[in-house]
């Protein structure tokens, strides 16, 4: 049976994400209503086994030392935590991770905002530009990193070749510590740009035309229109992008694995890469210490996610 409904966007959407719908229902217990609740079981079971239990197990592993193939051995309590959190190297890793996350996101969102605003009004070739700006969305972190590996490669990298062609000497992208962080951030910002552009284009188009007209009648043009009217209206989308970009930035791994392997001299080692090294990359897997890093990562990401829900939670555009 088909029933035509108004689009869900105009339906009743006034709940915060963590509240059950506040409506009265006819009681459905007993009879055929009993089947309904069971439908939640597959998802909950899978999430329980593959997400919740592993989280608890990670916490457990972090309290143990490991043997040389990674099995937990003796209980060491919080020793691993003490070691790791007081290690200046790890502090540096955390700061590097946060820096890369923020830089990459800032690049992506700012550039995408500019592109979306510029394309708001009709432009010759507008749709073509729109497609070009969406293209980076087609790249994953791994494939984007592979492309940038070819651009950044020492001596033969295309980027420096092209820069040399216009008389600019490009830096040693992957072997200079500062340039390497820039290199990673640029690669990250580039592929995140695509998604940011799509989201912000949708947000720009959702701005009610009356608001724009009213502002234009008031004499606001170009820059002022954008900064005083449009950007504030697009704030939820911008916040959303900023937060999700930061969260995924905190989990940066593929770019490091492909481009720098944590170098030069540990300058681009991120938290997840450190986890990978400890657990799988160093030749003698240390699941105990790696799990400590994993727990720290959970804390970092949870903190940012909580912020996300606070900022965006009750806010429906």
């Amino acid at each position: 049976m088909t029933i035509h409904l108004p689009s869900p966007e105009t339906g009743a959407r006034d709940q915060a994400p963590d509240q059950a719908p506040a409506r009265t229902r006819a009681p459905r217990r007993g009879g055929r209503g009993g089947a309904g609740p069971w439908l939640v079981v597959p998802a909950v079971l899978l999430l329980g086994v593959f997400v919740v239990r592993p989280l608890l197990r990670t916490a457990e592993l972090s309290l143990y030392a490991s043997d040389i193939i990674g099995n937990p051995t003796r209980f060491v309590g919080l020793t691993n935590y003490g070691e790791l959190l007081t290690d200046p190297g790890f502090v540096r890793v955390t700061l590097t991770t946060i820096l890369i996350a923020l830089l990459g996101t800032a690049l992506a969102v700012t550039a995408a905002l500019g592109a979306a605003l510029l394309l708001r009004r009709r432009l010759p070739g507008g749709p073509a530009f729109s497609i070009v700006f969406s293209l980076p969305f087609a790249y994953s972190a791994a494939s984007a990193s592979a492309v940038f590996a070819g651009l950044y490669a020492p001596s033969v990298g295309i980027l420096n070749v092209v820069l040399a062609g216009v008389g600019v000497e490009g830096p040693a992208w992957l072997s200079d510590p500062v340039a390497a962080i820039g290199a990673i951030s640029i690669a990250t910002g580039w592929y995140e740009f695509g998604f940011a552009f799509l989201v912000l284009t949708a947000a720009v188009r959702a701005v009610p035309p009356e608001v724009v007209e009213a502002a234009q009648l008031d004499g606001a043009g170009g820059w002022r229109l954008a900064s005083r009217i449009l950007v504030p209206i697009m704030r939820p989308s911008l916040l959303f992008l900023a937060v999700t970009g930061t969260i995924s930035g905190l989990q940066t791994f593929a770019q490091i694995q492909v481009l720098t392997r944590g170098g030069p001299g540990g300058a681009t080692t991120t938290v997840v890469f450190q986890l990978f090294q400890l657990a799988f990359g160093n030749g003698t897997p240390d699941f105990g210490r790696a799990s400590v890093v994993a727990v720290v990562l959970v804390v970092l990401v949870t903190a940012v996610t909580v912020v996300q829900f606070r900022l965006l939670g009750g806010r429906e555009s």
Binding site: V44, G48, P154, S155, P264, G266, F280, G281, G283, T284
Partner: protein, 457 residues
Amino acid sequence: MRARTPLVVTAAGLLVALTACSSPSGSGSAGSSAPGPSALADAQGVTEVSVWHGLGGANGEAFQAAVDDFNSENEGTIAVTATYQGVYADLLAKYNAAIRSDSVPTVLLGGDIATGFLTDVGQSIPAADMAAANPDDLVLGDLAEQATNYYTVDGVQQAVPMNVSTPMLWVNRDVLAQAGVDESDLTTLDDVVAAARTITDETGIAGYSMQADDWYIEQLTATAGQDFCLPANGRGDEPATEITIDSGLAKENITKIADLYRSGVAVDGAPDGSAAISAFQAGKVGMIVMSSGILGALKSGEPFDYEALPFPTSGPAGESGPVIGGSGLWLSASATPAEQVAGWKFETYLTSPEAQETFSHATGYVPINTKTADSPSQKEFLQANPLAQTFADQLSGTPVVSASAGCVSGAMTAVKAENISQIVAAFTGQKTVDEALDAAAESAKAAFADYQEQLAG
């Protein structure tokens, strides 16, 4: 109540998941004795042998060719499948994973620095035992002692060296000519350092580069006549506890090279050496210190006038010399006896004079079997390819002493990664050489200690 049932089921499911599957043990030490030829002779059908290796590019192709040759010679009895698992670090990670799930390959062509770990993890039958049980196959004495020495721990040879490389000083003859540097003057490290400066001063071209890998730092230590780690390079009764690069002649050597980088005479070679090779081929650097194994890459690029000279000396003759590189063959202790004997036959084939001859021609690795030099075709080849002779001479001329045996420890991967990380920081001027070497020594001590802790369980 029925409406609560889903919750109960879910909770039960979670409970089951929580208590189920604690970590798998991963089989411990083998302790099985080595099987003899009858194990394979009695086997029915085709015995399958799996081999994991870390040889990419041209070297990987040459290895596959050897595998194919062996398979065609043993059709119907043995079938070998070789898989490239990535660079040595990735290969080792995969191997660790395989231990956990009891799916190790029959033969592992493991990187040199994994020797300590592979010995300690006890998953392999020592080569010495297999050789004793299969006297008609590989005779370990036929292999170059400088190489078997590397894979001998506690007096027992653990693995069979298969592809052995030696570090060389590669020079671009055109650049040398431009700078007025004479090849024959490049014997000691001081000579090389001076020549690098001359090259840059006279021509503006970079004078030196090398792969940003700790293997080369170990070379600077071994050629200084110094044990890379103490005590006794980890090869005695006691495991290694510290490294020595922060003192003695080794430190002087490293400082001299670091000064080349800091003064702009040397350029970065990249952790995988690709930048050094590319720059060398493009005439952008006059001399590079790289493995003999890059010959394949140089030959397949655009031709130019280059030469490989022996690694620069610095320590007392007779007590110092370069450490070998490459990888060795480890035979799984958990494979079936038939597979083990089949794998041993494969190892015998790979290290035979004929196979080594073919392999070395294509790659630049040095033939590991001392009898290779006897064949007329090899003699011809060496005459036509003096570089190959240079490689072989350097290997055979290395004194079999503690310094040139290289350091063995399960912590080597971690130690080397941290070392090169610090030293590159010194090269780029982020730290002073003293700071970098002290930091490296500190964290090496910690790495060795952590490893012993893990080993004890």
